[in-house]
């Protein structure tokens, strides 16, 4: 079972009231009307921080109060005008202000405060945790509840093109780090009451908010339950990125293949939600996770569905070929050159022998050395700043490769093969799958170097067997190819026309199975209505 090897984690109460170090003594203390005591407790927990402000004032000029907040995390203007001002000034249209603290509460809420997001809280610990989230707390002498305002405003970057998944045709919006914005990007695309968003807090020190999104009525409820269960079990210090979450909820951590897909594009998330998957988003990470995943998702791109199906099917084939290339090409080269040169035409064989004549190393060593340098080069280009990076990649590939050949260090055919392989690996839309295939190349090359073609076959059989035994939340990784379902084949190698794919994928066991109504499918089959046909129009005009 998938939990094999993981230690059992201590259950936390759903949503994250987890004890902190400095707050242990605050466990049950409440705001009880004593202003100084409450403020003292809070300041004791939070320690000496220069970015924590306590603003003392008097409500209606009479009741001492204090406002506690982190000024860098709040919307200062709204705090000033909607909280401080009405609290200090008092509502202009009311003559009689309350005298005692006990009546103050309702009065404030109903007539004074202009702010839309107000809550009350009695537990001091909760007040502290909310202030840490960027909310503003107001404690008033004589009132036994603290007021909490939702004033969280954190500087964020603007919504921009997703950096890793760019398309020609399709929306140009990508997720940003703030969870609220991301959820809004999804909500406006799915303006239906069926979209449900549940949040949890995971991570003791980061208290990262994690949102689980699913479509009620489409997503199988067992799946949602399982996702929630796995998330509940996580009891760690920090969740800094969705990638951390991915590793904790994966079925098989040892496999090189990803069982969770991630994306930066809201339209992709929405499409997956509509198929019956569950999306996970983490505050602070622009990448959303989508589960469960199957292998065929890794070579499908968004553009496949926005463009015409015949052309996109051909392009999808090109992508598949590139994927296969990036895996087996170098090992096939090593196998054929070192073990079975009779497979290539005679003239070519002799020319290759000529190209290799000056190279001191055997083919496998040569290929391994160039492959490793290619990987190093790739890592280097990722970290370089923009201006230098572009030039270096061209320099790296062309000049260094050419120089290596001229120096007799590598044969020209090897360089061509490696270059094609590298380019092929970029054609895979999903970076994590491309990474897996890229790295699986190396064992294949080693096997090819020992056993030739036979070794390549052994390696491929091992990889295929592994893929076939992998499951993602119970869904076999190679669906829909392996538990063969004819419906699923429509989107596997070719992209069938949209009106063909009128059912949701069976392997997700969705609630509502149809996507396109039969009427639309029927209508599409009717011959087109030639409205502006010249023959018709001309005769009509002449009349």
């Amino acid at each position: 079972m998938f939990l094999f090897g993981r230690k059992k984690r201590r259950r936390s109460s759903g949503g994250g009231e987890q004890p902190w170090h400095s707050a242990d003594r605050l466990n049950d203390s409440v705001v009880d009307g004593n202003l100084e005591r409450a403020v003292g407790q809070i300041r004791g927990v939070l320690g000496e921080n220069d970015d924590f402000t306590i603003r003392r004032f008097q409500v209606f000029g009479r009741f001492p109060a204090a406002m506690l907040f982190y000024p860098n995390m709040i919307d200062m203007t709204s705090v000033n005008s909607e909280i401080l001002k009405p609290l200090m000034y008092g509502p202009p249209h009311v003559e009689q202000l309350p005298e005692k603290g006990g009546e103050l509460w309702d009065f404030l809420l109903e007539t004074t405060l202009y702010h839309s997001d107000v809550r009350s809280e009695t537990l001091v610990a909760k007040v502290v945790s909310d202030v840490l989230r960027g909310q503003t707390a107001v404690v008033i002498e004589g009132v036994d509840k603290a007021l909490l305002f939702g004033t969280r405003t954190i500087d964020k970057r603007s919504i921009d093109q997703p950096a890793t998944e760019q398309v020609i045709r399709g929306p140009r919006e990508g997720f940003i780090e703030l969870l609220s914005t991301n959820i809004s990007l999804i909500r406006y695309r799915l303006q239906t009451p069926d979209l449900r968003v549940k949040t949890m807090e995971i991570g003791r020190r980061t208290r990262s908010k994690v949102a689980i999104c699913y479509m009620h009525g489409i997503t199988n409820p067992e799946l949602v339950k399982e996702v929630t269960r796995r998330l509940d079990l996580i009891d760690v210090d920090a969740i800094l990125d969705s990638g951390y979450l991915e590793q904790y909820i994966e079925d098989n951590q040892l496999s090189p293949f990803p069982q969770v897909q991630y994306t930066e594009r809201p339209d992709k998330v929405v499409a997956n939600l509509l198929e019956g998957r569950v999306a996970l988003m983490v505050d602070g990470s622009p990448l959303a996770l989508v589960v469960p995943t199957v292998f065929s998702q890794f070579y499908q791109a968004v553009e496949d569905y926005t463009e015409r199906f015949l052309l996109m099917s051909a392009i999808r084939w090109a992508r598949l070929i590139a994927l296969v290339f990036s895996l087996v090409f170098p090992s096939l080269y090593v196998a054929i050159i070192s073990f079975n040169p009779e497979l290539i035409p005679t003239e070519f064989a002799v020319a290759v022998a000529g190209g290799r004549a000056g190279v001191p190393f055997p083919a496998i060593v040569e290929v391994l050395v160039i492959e490793i340098s290619m990987e190093v080069l790739r890592e280097a280009t990722i970290r370089l700043p923009q201006q230098v990076g572009g030039a270096l990649s061209i320099v790296g590939v062309l000049v260094v490769g050419q120089a290596a050949v001229a120096a007799g260090f590598a044969s020209p055919i090897t360089v061509v093969i490696i270059a094609l392989t590298t380019i092929g690996s970029f054609a895979t839309p999903a970076y994590n799958a491309a990474l897996a295939l890229r790295l699986l190349r190396f064992p294949l090359i080693v096997l090819a170097g020992i056993f030739g073609l036979y070794g390549v076959m052994i390696g491929l059989i091992l990889i295929a067997n592994h893929l076939l035994s992998l499951k993602s939340f119970g869904v076999p990784y190679m669906s829909p190819l392996v538990p063969g379902s004819p419906n699923g084949m429509k989107d596997l190698f070719l992209r069938g026309p949209l009106w063909w794919m009128n059912k949701r994928p069976k392997f997700l066991y969705p609630g509502d199975k149809t996507r396109i109504s039969d009427q639309t499918v029927e209508d599409l089959k009717e011959p087109p209505n030639n409205v502006l046909e010249p023959a018709k129009m001309e005769t009509n005009g002449k009349k």
Partner: protein, 370 residues
Amino acid sequence: MKQAKRITTVQVAAIMTSTIIGVGVLPIPLFAVRGADSGAPLVTLLGASVAFIGLFLIARLGMRFPGQSIVQYGEVVIGKWLSWIGSIGIIGFFAILTSLTAREFGEVVITSVLTETPLEVTVIVMLMLAAISTRNDITTFAYIHLFYFPLLIGPALLIVALSLKNADMVNLQPIWGNSHKDMLASVLTIASLFQGGFIITSVIPAMREPRKAMMASMIGLVIAGGLYVTIVGATVGVFGSEETKNLLWPTLELAKATSLPANVLERLDAAFLAVWVTAVFTTLFSSYYLAVKELSKLFRLQDHKMFSFFLLPGVFSMAMVPYNILHMYEIIQNVGRIGLFVTIAYPGLLLVVAILRKKRGEPSEERSAG
């Protein structure tokens, strides 16, 4: 571990076909022409029919006891001790079959492709591959066979189609051949190539619809048998029966003599061998899985994983027993004959006794079978 009963009929057919098509693909034309010269395709067909009888018995038996495999219902039918003898015989036979298949595979590889590699290495690598793969449960087992099934059929048919342009119909006549002295021996040898079909006794307990087991296994047999007949026909058609008798692995020579149009790839035999490795793997996988699984059931264990590496040294040493390739083929012939007895006579006996004693298995939903 609880087994899911999720294997579909299509998967069963795929399992049957890919198990049967294995290492025997290479020498089968030789066996066939030894029996009847140009009547080789006919001999193959007869061999397939003999195998058909055996398979029919096994499928009938399995359908009668849908939740159990042969080890388990053997006990029900003829009592514990007698069935233990039969079951041990089956398990031992399939362990030996695994070792011989691996050995034959190694021989082909070191003769035609990797001439310097020691035989032990090729054999042990293949056996380890099979052993690692048997650690999965039966649903993954079915997936693996289903996945490799088109990879076997496609290239085989391609090579046959491409070679037909060199075939001469005269080579295939007379249809029943000229000399028949060794025909029976050949038919039996070819029938023993289908023995892998016994795997269905392990598969039926995990099927979604055991009633369809007969149809699925028949389809699997027809496809595998059809492929064998086609290959034999193509080989004899291209080379003639006499030349085929000269070749140790005629199918390989057929691939060697074929080229893609416009001479894109010249000698397809290395590529063919690569595909054939997959075929051998599926066969080895099945027979090893059968041995391991039934052994674990014999000892009433839930988990068969520990046996997969446990049996490995034994199987490997058995694979090293024959001295050389001709000795190996003699052993294969004899073991094949014994195997026919084990895989046809014993189930036949069980079926007859079961009918007489009116024993039947429950179509079990609760049994943690498989």
